[in-house]
Symmetry: C2
Subunit: 481 residues, 2 copies
Amino acid sequence: MSKKSEEGITAKKNENFSEWFTQVVQKCELADLRYNIKGFLVFQPWSVLAMEKMYDYMEKNLQKKGHKPYWFPTLIPESNLKKESEHLSGFTPEVFWISSSGKDKLDEPLALRPTSETAFYQMFSLWIRSYKDLPFKTYQRANIFRYDTKATRPFLRSREFHWIETHCAHESEKNALQQVKEDMKTTKEVMHDIFGVPFIFFERPQWDKFPGASRTFAADALNPDGKVIQQPSTHMISQEFSKAFDVKFKDKDGKDKYSFMTCYGPAISRIFASVVITHGDDKGLKFPWEIAPIQTVIVPIDAKLNKKAEKIKKEIEKIVNVEIDYSDKRPGEKFNYWEMKGIPIRIDLGLQDSKKGKVTIFRRDLDKKIVVSEKSIVKEISKISREFTKNLIKKADRVFDNRIKEVKDIKEMEKAIKEGLVAKCRFCSTQADGIKCAEVIEKNIGAEVRGTRLDEKTKVSGKCAICDKKASVIVYIAKSY
Amino acid sequence: MSKKSEEGITAKKNENFSEWFTQVVQKCELADLRYNIKGFLVFQPWSVLAMEKMYDYMEKNLQKKGHKPYWFPTLIPESNLKKESEHLSGFTPEVFWISSSGKDKLDEPLALRPTSETAFYQMFSLWIRSYKDLPFKTYQRANIFRYDTKATRPFLRSREFHWIETHCAHESEKNALQQVKEDMKTTKEVMHDIFGVPFIFFERPQWDKFPGASRTFAADALNPDGKVIQQPSTHMISQEFSKAFDVKFKDKDGKDKYSFMTCYGPAISRIFASVVITHGDDKGLKFPWEIAPIQTVIVPIDAKLNKKAEKIKKEIEKIVNVEIDYSDKRPGEKFNYWEMKGIPIRIDLGLQDSKKGKVTIFRRDLDKKIVVSEKSIVKEISKISREFTKNLIKKADRVFDNRIKEVKDIKEMEKAIKEGLVAKCRFCSTQADGIKCAEVIEKNIGAEVRGTRLDEKTKVSGKCAICDKKASVIVYIAKSY
């Protein structure tokens, strides 16, 4: 344990969010930023252990819904990327290129995958034959590479990141949209209901689509500085790609047809950032129960209680991942340390308590101490484990909901954005012709039209908040990373 | 399901091993070799599901022994690789180089990691301060890249493969050797005792070390064609690297000392090949219970029994991963298909059996059918699950042990190698001066000195099997990939 991490977090989350986040990443030893390639970082055990669990929840959910796991090559030939022109022009500026192996120049440059549509689809064209093969639902756990020219930030925006990408082929556009809705459901089931991260799933405006997609949907989570951070997105790739890669199937009517593609990309290392940001506080991390690297730590305050600590550990390790802190720090230091590291439950063993057959439990969900009898400890911990993440979610949802503000015009919008809120308003159009109003917002307020909600079907009346045209949609406006 | 996979395996494992392996990879849909970069393949669900479980067993074992998980960048700056000269010259011919991102030329070429010592050690020099930090035990799950110029073979030798690499720093050479022994134990506990792959762990001759290591140890598994395939290796890196990367610690005596490094590399995608090869037979795959993607499949022979199939599935799915085959293939086709795919247990539901309250269980460990009462099915399956892998291991060990042959001279050695055996003989030396005899073997028989066993301490008397010098060691000779 380095000296630095013992100092604790000194920045306030809601006053200086950026500094707070940097301190949490460094002092909780989530990632080391000193690796000698810009934008690349070393993920340390405390984040990796949690992210491995996050992968597990996400993959199990996808498998239950019929997605089969693949491992594709990390490299994609340039000619694959060139097959679909929008995709190429969208991703080319961000691609790392391999041009030699050993001392030999390669015949064709190879890309480090920025995303893998162009790798999967060429195989789809070999694997998919008939409507009976559809929907063809795949995914892979993978690391991807984007030479992002914006400022990099650990977990939020790195040049290599760890994600899952699903790629599916469908019979019809209708089925593709159905898949998009399933992806949204998956996001809620995993990112919200297990990891506790609130979000809104938007359909992005036409001018903000994934390169090569016909419609793009993306979840936005919210940071305390009022900026939204894009979390999983799901795309209707339509038939552009299936034509480019010749992904055809023989339909029931005997005719060859091009399939409709969708893809979905939950980025585990970025979702981890939202977990940290959503639940963390001025003391440091706060892990949801399900993904905490260690769920309970026992702190014997006197060495005489070490035996008792071992006994309690044995009793509870059937239901939780538990460790004993035997380090030679002072008790107060230990308490602060484990609170900063975000351990859900700490069991403090003191001599006074012990004489009375009691132990003190500190629960990080409520930041509260309770004294319970030694005998009931398994029951108590089991009870807390069931309530823990629910408590985090309840609080996170409340914070999130209070940050959405309806506005009528650009003045109100500006005020809301300045206060760190997400503005909601009437808007002329998220088709190509709406871009002028979006530019007005961007220029004057520095905020973006994040999109419309599929699950919000209110009839829109009145005028656009920006121009004089009739409003056709309700949109949400926010600053972003 | 493609037509091809329905044909079944037509090559004999022991007569035409190479063709047998190719057919198993393709017909069991383990990997697709048609990806358009040479030496790179698409791992398909049937292998990925098993390899994910293999990762899990290996990672849990390492974590239990105190290794902490990291995710390092895939890219390593050229200057890191250049810091240790032996390592550089050993790996440079195999490196894929990235020289541009987007349209910009990079200031320094970046390597796709061929292995990650030079990435980990520079961070070790920042993280390790005192003897209290030692042993410093890490690992990462990662994909690595080697532009191997030998013929590539799926799973056995690909240009991108999936492995675990552990990197550790120790106080002393003695502790480093202790770590090497622990790595050997890990290999036995996981690769042999769970995956059922027999092997011998050798210390490699001095002329066959890992580039930059002082001593190299590696497990050899055996293929039916008599060739050995190198499985996990573990290396004493000694202090060359800690000097190059300045990995120092303050010892108890207050002095700064260079730490001793070890690294261990179980390649999951290659171990998977040995699992396939060790247990497979002329019908196809045979998965050990613990890593089978599906452990039990239920085949209702008549649609009238579908309800019963569902009922049985519900009963046993608490203890096994089970699926029902509702496809419209004929029963015989289904039986062959699942035997080829290596499912441990198949439950056949027939009308005759059903009237008597019986079901037929086919167990792939013994390739035997048994008829049991419906009521006892959970008990039966639980019993088989406990015996299953043990049966596979027993058989594999017997086959392996029968393939080691003691030989006295080069004539006997040649005969043994021709018969597909591993030869064991007295040998002058595995230090630098023994290389001449090794070259004689290689030139005349096309086989290699694989090394000596740490766990075989027999006193050696008599002469070297090749030259006239006094023998100092017992070595093993085999052909390899």
